[in-house]
């Protein structure tokens, strides 16, 4: 038996701090009351709170109230989104759940699939992370609907290794109450879900299904399979006998992309999002979803982390308070100084100088109160911008002429702004709108009007409201619609078809029939009076539509840094780490981390002063697939031994060598090799 060194600790030891209760002795209830009653926190409470306070920024010069404000803003900003996202996710699965439950409860299989086990094949797609949520929801819904008579058993391949284990689980979870009846009670039903059916041993699934089948006359079994690939592949893996015992239906889960898009609409683009995720970061996040097949959960985490980062580390985030008026007391000289360092501030001042508003520029730079006033006004401007942005996006979506996905449109809108004139561009709708037929135009006007009135619920944009603008827009659209309808009527009477000069039909006619310029003008001339009126209506509509749609790029806005977050680095470091590179850097260039004087000159090369493991790592990267430890030792000792500058004695060097080698092994760089005596095998090529 290996005698462990004296310091060996038990497998788990509770730290001495375990018993220290973090919460102070005072009961929680009383505190909550006092918090409500007194607006200003009591000093004693502040002391209690200290542990939970955020560090002060500006090198500690930030006032505690400003730090507190950031914290409060974060705490009010995020939970709104979190619940929003949750409801989106729940909604996404709702339809599938309904279908599955209906299938399980229906009596269809009573007549059609008599004697067979009803089986639902739920196509979840490759994202197994999402399966958990789906099946837990399914369990909840079944328990709710079944009024206790339906028992739901979830099986995961990892937990069920063999038939015995599987049956044990099913009996334990599924038969708990039914056992006494043992088939006597007809009401009891057991739904067994194979969550990751692909991971199950094929034989096991077959055997279980066979057993369910043979018990079918006594216990009503139903099975559900979560399938990542396709039912065909699943069937191909099963025996025909098994397939014959199943009576199945297929259900598709909403694809991850669609879910992601609705999450982005609600939580990133929507009006409830306090912080704008910059286009660069958003693109990166979306790409990660697609490339890494990460679940929506990963996206939500990243989003949350962006919020955390912004409010925790950016002192200016305090300027993003919910109220209209920022308390002037909060703003301290450091805030103003920081504001004057912002890119958007600089460009704003430069712009003012160019426009000849020298006073304004000077006041911004020199007068603190003037700047404070400006800062206070930016909140309103932000709201205005967001309103315009969402209005434009909602209207663009309503035209149904854009070929891009919402996420792409949103990114483009933040990055380049929205302009319908820019062609080719993401918002290049002009041609499509102009080419529409009278009926299409009427449909378009209707859709646009609905959006103007009701807004877009998934973006939480409530329409243009009841202001003058909105009324004017409605009147305008109403008038246009009436015009077009009248034109349709007239042309019907005349038994001609109404068309505009843009409509592709006339163009097709002239190119296919005759391709000469003389005929071209004649063709246009054949437009009737109504056609011309219709063309004018289209032009009118488009011109008015243009006034409603359009916004600036986000980065053009004054103080956009306060409410925009577009940094890649923290996100990448924290969610997509590169441990291999980190280890390699630490070992090959320890100076990067240690900043020591002795290894300063090494600069990635090998010197004797490096830590032993680092020297071994250098030697290791030069070595071949098989390493002779004797030679490794000789090389190492030559660097640090008595003949070198370090002058270490042999035994001490050997101790460090041992330690380095053991660490290399623990990190998975080398393993034992039996090819030759005292050789080890290389395992990593970095």
């Amino acid at each position: 038996m290996f005698t462990a060194p004296p310091t060996t600790t038990a497998a788990t030891n509770t730290s001495p701090t375990t018993t220290t209760k973090s919460a102070p002795g005072r009961p929680a209830k009383r505190r909550r009351v006092s918090e409500k009653d007194t607006a200003a926190p009591l000093p004693a409470q502040e002391k209690d709170d200290e542990g939970r306070q955020w560090p002060r920024l500006f090198n500690g010069f930030e006032s505690p109230s400003a730090a507190d404000l950031r914290k409060k803003t974060y705490e009010s900003a995020w939970p709104v989104l979190e619940s929003e996202i949750e409801s989106v996710l729940r909604d996404a699965n709702r339809q599938t759940l309904e279908e599955v439950v209906e299938f399980l409860n229906s009596d269809v299989h009573e007549c059609e699939g008599r004697g067979r086990v009803p089986a639902g094949f739920i196509i979840t797609g490759p994202n197994i992370a999402g399966q958990d949520l789906l099946f837990s929801q399914l369990g909840d819904v079944l328990a709710e609907r079944g009024e206790g008579r339906v028992r739901f058993v979830r099986l995961k391949a990892g937990e069920v290794g063999n038939l015995k284990g599987g049956l044990k689980r099913i009996v334990r979870e599924g038969m708990g109450g039914v056992e006494g009846g043992d088939g006597g009670e007809g009401g009891g039903r057991v739904v067994v879900a194979f969550q990751d059916s692909e991971a199950f041993d094929t034989g096991l699934v077959g055997e279980l299904v066979g057993l369910f089948h043979s018990w079918q006359d006594r216990i009503q079994f139903s099975v559900l399979f979560g399938i990542a690939t396709s039912v065909e592949l699943f069937q191909a893996r099963q025996l025909k006998a098994t397939a014959r015992q199943l009576y199945g239906a297929q259900f598709d889960v909403v694809q991850a992309n669609a879910v992601l898009e609705s999450v982005i609409m609600a939580a990133v683009a929507g009006a409830k999002a306090q912080l704008r995720i910059g286009p660069g970061l958003l693109r990166k996040l979306v790409r990660r979803q697609q490339e890494h097949v990460a679940g929506v959960g990963a996206f939500v985490s990243s989003l949350k982390y962006a919020y955390m980062n912004h409010f925790y580390a950016n002192p200016l985030s305090a300027l993003l308070v919910d109220g209209q008026k920022l308390d002037k007391e909060i703003l301290q000289p450091e805030h103003l100084e920081a504001v004057r360092m912002l890119e958007s501030f600089k460009s704003h001042v430069e712009q003012s100088v160019e426009d000849g508003r020298l006073d304004h520029a000077r006041l911004l730079l020199e007068n603190d109160d003037y700047l404070k006033g400006r800062i206070n006004r930016q909140a309103a401007k932000r709201q205005q911008y967001l309103g315009k942005l969402l209005q434009s996006l909602a209207l663009v979506i309503a035209t149904e002429h854009s070929k891009r996905s919402f996420v792409e449109l949103y990114e483009a809108a933040l990055e380049e702004g929205i302009s319908l004139d820019q062609s080719p561009g993401p918002f290049d709708l002009g041609d499509a709108i102009k080419r529409s037929t009278p009926e299409e135009l009427i449909g378009l006007i209707k859709r646009v009007m609905t959006v103007v009135v009701d807004g877009n619920p998934s973006l939480h944009w409530n329409g243009m409201g009841i202001g003058q603008d909105a009324e004017a827009a409605i009147d305008k659209f109403e008038a246009l619609r009436a015009d077009v309808e009248r034109l349709i009527e007239t042309s019907k009477k005349k038994k001609t078809s109404l068309k505009s000069k843009y409509s592709s039909q006339s163009r097709v006619l002239r190119t296919t029939v005759v391709a000469q310029k003389v005929q071209l003008s004649r063709d246009t001339a054949t437009l009737t009076e109504e056609d011309n009126a219709f063309t004018a209506a289209i032009d009118d509509f488009f011109a008015f539509f243009k006034t409603l749609v359009g916004c600036e790029p986000l980065s053009n806005l004054f103080l956009n840094e306060v409410w925009q977050y577009d940094y890649h680095l923290p996100y990448e470091d924290v969610f997509v780490p590169r441990p291999g590179a980190t280890f390699a850097r630490a070992l090959s260039r320890p100076h990067d981390y240690l900043g020591c004087a002795c290894c300063d000159k090494a600069n990635g090369s090998m010197v004797g002063t490096l830590p032993a493991t680092s020297i071994l790592y250098h030697l290791y990267s030069e070595a071949g697939a098989s390493i002779n430890v004797a030679d490794l030792w000789a090389a190492y000792y030559a660097l640090v031994g008595e003949d070198s500058e370090i002058g270490m004695d042999e035994r001490s060097a050997l101790v460090l060598f041992y330690r380095g080698l053991a660490e290399m092994r623990a990190m998975g760089f080398v393993k034992q090799s039996k090819k030759k005596a005292d050789h080890i095998a290389k395992l990593k090529w970095l």
Binding site: M1, C596, S626, A677
Partner: protein, 531 residues
Amino acid sequence: MPPKKTTNQKAAARVPRKRPATTDPYEIPEEDEIEPPKRRRHAATAAADTDDATVSTPSASRLKKTVATPIKLNGLNGIDTPSRKNNADRSARRKSARALVDRVISGAISDDEAEEGDIAREIYESSEDEEDEEDEEGEEENLNGETEPTTTPSKFAPGRKRKTTTTRTRKRSPTPPRDLPPHEQYFFQNKPGLSKTSNNTLSSLQLLTHDEYFSLSRDLSSANPHKTDITHLASLHVSSFPQWAFELSQSFSLCLYGYGSKRQILHKFATYLSSHPPCSLGQANKIVIINGYTPSITIRELLCSLASAVSSPTTTLPGILSYLTTHPNTTLTILLNSVSSPHLRKGSFQSIISTLASHAQVYLCCTTDSPDFALLWDSAVGTNFRFLYHDCTTFCSYSPSEMEVVDSVHELLGRKTRRVGGKEGVAFVLRSLPENAKSLFRLLVGEVLCADEGDGQGQGQGEEISVEYRMVYNKAVEEFICSSEMAFRTLLKEFHDHQIITSHKDALGTELLSLPFGKEELEGILEELTT
């Protein structure tokens, strides 16, 4: 192209038997003209066959071409040899040859064409070089008395030849190529026969014993030249504690990775968390530190400690979770050292930890020591964890409890170590051995335990209990485990190979067998063997 002439002639000399004399020298072998490899093994008949075939069906196009291209003697028929190159190579070469010939024929060269021509020539010549090489080889083979008259490639010939080519090129450049990308380097270094290491061994060096290692390392750690820098690095990590605590409080888990022992940091973090708990006001936070590097760690033990920390009545995972759910004022912070240690790599362990971490009242911060930790978690487990990763390179050396340096190195070197995977190791070895080997081992364990009983407490600690070889053999024969000493030795050899027994001779020369396990472990093994 004068230098190529010789080889071309050679090639021509070898080939023509297969083709009618009228063959156009520029004719590039079409796909179907290259005989299927099957035939080439019987060269004589094959040649006759093809001859017949070509004679009986003279293709019109071919005749035409003979008329059309008068420059027969240009000596370009090197292309004519059915190349051993792969198709892509051949067609590139064919095209470039065509281009060259066309140019010669047309005569007129514009600037543009000249450039093109250069490229074509380059392609042509580069493959020519290789051809040369192969031709030489072919020659060699012929000299070696290979009687096969045709050098048309057979399916088997190229394999052999290619081998010789590669070895030859390797000889030409003994220095390894530098700055290869990692994957190329892997393939380069793993070429068979490449690894040439010296025959030096560590026999002249006296290996370290545990005692020597510990006494020396104590002195060394105080004299570490980087000590202050390491402390400084640690202080940098300490400064991000508030951030980490904030992240924990936002129901993320933390994973600290990077080179060096993170045990100290985690302990400091525990102290910090005790005064700055991640939970909200009014919640009681319990902190549990788990040392994942302990070899004897088990899931049950872990759950027990967690249950006792939150004073949950049940020690099962669902029990603890439901207890937490019903007691919303209790939170649990788990600080896990070395989540990627070999003892915790089982999927069940990771999924249990992740299920714990996904609970809203459980905060998890773990450290990992190997760069491959991400492979531990599939996406479902990973989603449960909600990890934020932080680079926490410390450069601290591992404490003796974290890493068995001497044993680890000796194991790496294939030297005798005192521990062989314990009970599990033995069970694993025995599972792959025949029934009588199991019986023999059971017998051996029984004997050793008996001897231990007999000796009572008199045996000094660390002294292994040995039994006489002869006695064990006799017993084994009695129990019909083996019939001859040969068979007995064979069985013992198997045990020796797996280092689950050791043998030595005492002063009198009696051979003794002993088991490198402690008493408790032996009892455990016996229990497992008899059930």
